[in-house]
């Protein structure tokens, strides 16, 4: 390898920190779900809350601070599905990022 190419290789860097930041943003986006006109983020707190009740319908505050009369099971299922899909995506991409050190690994 000639010295210029070697220098290019040495200078090339995978922007891991920026990548992980963006990945977290994407993960949060993938947690967004809607139910009966309300918008929710499928965080563990929401899943735990829905799981801790037994009534078929319950008022839940959405991200716009609007109470939505939710079908508890339906919203719980949607939240769990979104959480599972987003978490798998996040974990897979983080594992991939951790295996990248150089531009040639990208």
């Amino acid at each position: 390898m000639d010295s210029n190419k070697l220098k290019d290789l040495a200078d090339a860097q995978f922007a891991k920190s920026a990548f992980l930041t963006i990945l977290k943003e994407t993960y949060e986006d993938k947690l967004t779900i809607t139910h009966r006109g309300g918008t929710f983020v499928a965080r563990p707190e929401l899943i735990s809350f829905l799981n801790s009740w037994h009534e078929p319908e319950i008022h839940v505050e959405d991200i716009y601070k609007t109470p939505i009369l939710a079908d508890r099971n339906e919203l719980l299922d949607a939240a769990k599905t979104a959480y599972r899909m987003a978490s798998v995506y996040w974990a897979t991409e983080v594992a991939r990022a951790n295996s990248i050190d150089r531009e040639t690994d990208v």
């Binding site: 290019d8 040495a10 200078d11 090339a12 860097q13 995978f14 922007a15 920190s17 920026a18 990548f19 930041t21 963006i22 943003e25 994407t26 949060e28 986006d29 993938k30 967004t32 779900i33 809607t34 006109g37 309300g38 918008t39 983020v41 991200i63 716009y64 609007t66 995506y89 991409e93 531009e103 990208v106």
Partner: protein, 282 residues
């Protein structure tokens, strides 16, 4: 209720129609909704758009200097017809996107199931972590918080109609608003018009309207697309200067299944790159 996406595309030295065609294909693939193109171009690829609405250019031309990758370029910029989106959209529920906003994920589908009258992003994040585009951007000084017009969702309702009519008024009296909010009038910006109209019509209070959750991910004009892979990964590269912790050089990152606003029009319209991106849309 009919639902669909609307894209504006006016060619200059940059082929916005080609970008819009790519963006439309991606919308169809990931959101499964029809797309209407609003343009003055008479030659548009057939079979991609649900409707093509021919609308000539109005108002004055602006020139903007873009730093595409490592070079700078002065280009004519036609961005002023956007305030007519409300009147021109053939849909009851509309997703209005820039021609350079590429959708690789079905996440935005949820907007059509919400009670939102109008929504847009109020945060932007640059994929290279630069501080040029960041949370906390404002219109003017001290100004008001910026709302981003790159992706907008609206239904046919009084608030949305008012916002677009107000945007039209701001466009026609841009010098006045530039003075009132203390920003430069050199370049008309839809983001500014939207921010002012939305804030004013929701009671001069930024907490009275519904932002799209999350951030508008953006690849700024200094970022090139280095490679598009069949697996869906898009590799981006940019030159960075020397810092206290980092030598000068080229940095890379990649995205997969992630919506992205690509501001470097030269990289997105590069023949090889747009072909590779189009393959991802099929």
């Amino acid at each position: 209720m009919s639902k669909g996406a609307v894209i504006f595309a006016y060619n200059s030295t940059i082929d916005y129609v080609a970008m819009a065609t790519l963006a439309a294909r991606l919308v169809q693939k990931h959101l499964d909704i029809p797309v209407t193109l609003i343009t003055n171009a008479t030659e548009v690829e057939s079979g991609v758009f649900d409707q093509i609405i021919l609308q000539g250019l109005v108002d004055k031309e602006y020139e903007r200097v873009f730093k595409f990758g490592s070079s700078k370029e002065r280009v004519v910029w036609h961005n002023q017809n956007r305030s007519s989106a409300y009147d021109l959209s053939p849909y009851d529920q509309t997703l209005l996107i820039d021609a350079d906003y590429l959708i690789f994920d079905s996440g935005l589908k949820y907007l059509f199931d919400t009670n939102n009258d109008i929504a847009c992003y109020n945060h932007v994040v640059d994929i290279n972590g630069s501080r040029g585009l960041q949370r906390g951007a404002r219109v003017g000084n001290p100004g008001i918080p910026m709302q981003w017009a790159t992706v907008m969702y609206f239904t046919k309702n009084q608030l949305a109609q008012g916002v677009f009519e107000f945007m039209q008024g701001i466009k026609e009296n841009y010098l006045y608003y530039a003075g009132a909010y203390n920003f430069t009038a050199q370049l008309y910006r839809n983001d500014y018009a939207l921010s002012i109209a939305l804030q004013a019509l929701t009671g001069y209070n930024n907490k009275n309207f519904r932002a799209i959750p999350g951030s508008l991910l953006t690849a700024n004009t200094g970022i090139d697309i280095a490679e598009v892979r069949k697996s869906g990964e898009i590799v981006f590269s940019w030159d960075h200067k020397k810092t206290e912790t980092q030598a000068a050089g080229k940095s890379f990152t990649m995205l997969k299944d992630t919506n992205i606003h690509i501001m470097n029009k030269r990289t997105i319209t590069d023949t090889d790159i747009i072909d590779q991106l189009t393959e991802l849309a099929l």
